[in-house]
Amino acid sequence: MEEYFDSTYIWESIPALLPYLKMTFFVAGLSVLFGSLLGLILAIMKLGENKVFQNIAHGYTTVLRCTPSIVLLFLIYYGVPAIAMNFGVNLNDMSSVFFVVITFTLQFGALMSEVIRSAYESIDRGQYEAAVSVGLSNMQAYRRIIFPQAFVVALPNFGNALLELMKEGALAYTIGLIDVMGKANLIIASNYNSHALEIYIGLSIIYWVLSIIIEQFFLKLERVFSKGNKGLKAA
């Protein structure tokens, strides 16, 4: 094994890869933003009374859950312009980032709708009742009492969904987007496919460190926001 394995490739690849995290973050950031919005809308549909909306939202979640990201990515990347063409809109000049963001937004939205729904449902209905019984309006009750508590419940799952997204982002390379994964592939290609193992190890180290940072960050957030829920802090 020593014959081929050359760890210098690992250490050389890391600085070459790091700048491309920008693209990874950019895609993830936009997808999280739009995906959370979509998730919120879907969650509201699921929690609402309207059966049709409920079924639409649940159906959407099921379909998205059942579609491998790479397949979804291709369907969006080629399907959306094809459909748009029928309406006389030419999307072929759009950057591939656009389609990647749409894909991951759709996916993240499905994930988030479940996260938001379960967080909302985890808040005891008594909290809402108490809020209106002291004279808060519906909106006030949600804004001041329900949301801050549901937020804390949702945080860890949100963090998980974010991690998932960062990792899925690796697939964006298949449509030519150069993020860290794409750069790794380019490096390998420019070495004529040699020493791929070392480059991928370098790549995985970056992902790993990143995920640990995100995880810790969310743990911190959770601790900060859950101040009211800790039972044992002696007064």
């Binding site: 081929y4 291709f74 990347y77 080629y78 312009p81 094809a82 030419n90 072929n92 000049d93 591939s96 390379y173 298949t174 449509i175 030519g176 150069i178 592939n185 380019l186 390998i188 290609a189 420019s190 070495n191 004529y192 496919n193 040699s194 020493h195 791929a196």
Partner: protein, 264 residues
């Protein structure tokens, strides 16, 4: 709307039309993104020369993966794509092949020295050897598949795989497989070149060419006019021996010398 295929009906010849040329960005030395982020490689450089000869066209190079390139050209996202593509009957339904080919590709078997006597796919197959997986969208895959269709009694064990996870030369040297298919360019750069990453294996592995094949740019089906313009330009380049120069530069050998014997 200069980007759409249908608008190319030369309404005014003075107007420069921008076309998107897709290239496989990870296929050194055929086409790739160099360390400075520029598109280069044999196929790309040829297209750059073509561009120079076509004042009414302005080429914009888009790097991508080969799969995306194929679908993108088909859909009209790109007007043309270069990825060392070979010609097959079925593909003519989805792509417009021009009259003139773009370059030549020497395709051969990578083998260990002890198997250096295997020169053809027939020999390889009769030995019962295993072959490194080839990405399904790679033309090499089609070449082997075609051989297998023509030789149903003596097929090569063909496996589809992924471009990045298979390092043909290393796999052959390790013995993970008995042989692999590759084109000559990369082998030159990896093993023969002094600074190649596998130069140390120069006495252990051999490259046995079994075919030289024409490679083609793939045009979107609606791009007849553009393809015709390309044909004019490339004819001129061939006459000027420009392509031979590029072949030598990128493949280490002027493949046009064996053009006579190329049958497809």
């Amino acid at each position: 709307e200069s980007g759409t295929a249908s608008s190319s009906d030369g309404d005014s010849a003075s107007e420069v039309r921008t076309v998107k040329v897709a290239y496989d960005q990870s296929s050194k030395p055929i086409s790739y993104l160099d360390d400075n982020g520029n598109a280069t490689g044999y196929d790309v450089e040829v297209m750059k020369l073509v561009d120079e000869l076509l004042p009414e066209y302005e080429f914009e190079y888009v790097g991508t993966t080969s799969e995306d390139l194929l679908i993108g050209v088909q859909q009209g996202k790109f007007q043309v794509g270069v990825k060392n593509a070979f010609w097959t009957e079925e593909r003519t339904e989805n792509f417009l092949y021009p009259e003139e080919f773009l370059g030549l590709s020497s395709i051969g078997l990578v083998l260990t020295n002890e198997n250096a006597h295997i020169k053809t796919l027939e020999d390889f197959a009769s030995e019962g050897f295993t072959l490194a997986p080839i990405a399904a969208n790679n033309a090499q895959y089609t070449v082997i598949e075609e051989y297998n269709q023509e030789n149903p009694d003596n097929p090569v064990k063909l496996q589809a795989g992924d471009q990045f996870s298979v390092d043909v030369i290393q796999w052959v040297n390790e013995g993970r497989v008995d042989g692999g298919v590759t084109i000559e360019g990369p082998f030159q750069k990896q093993v023969i070149a002094e600074d190649g990453p596998y130069h140390n294996l120069i006495n252990d592995v051999v490259y046995n060419e079994f075919d030289v094949i024409k490679t083609w740019p793939l045009f979107n089906l609606d791009e007849q006019e553009f393809a015709a313009a390309y044909d004019e330009a490339i004819k001129q380049l061939k006459e000027e021996k420009k392509l031979s120069e590029l072949s030598t530069e990128f493949y280490g050998r002027d493949l046009f010398e064996v053009l006579e014997s190329v049958d497809r």
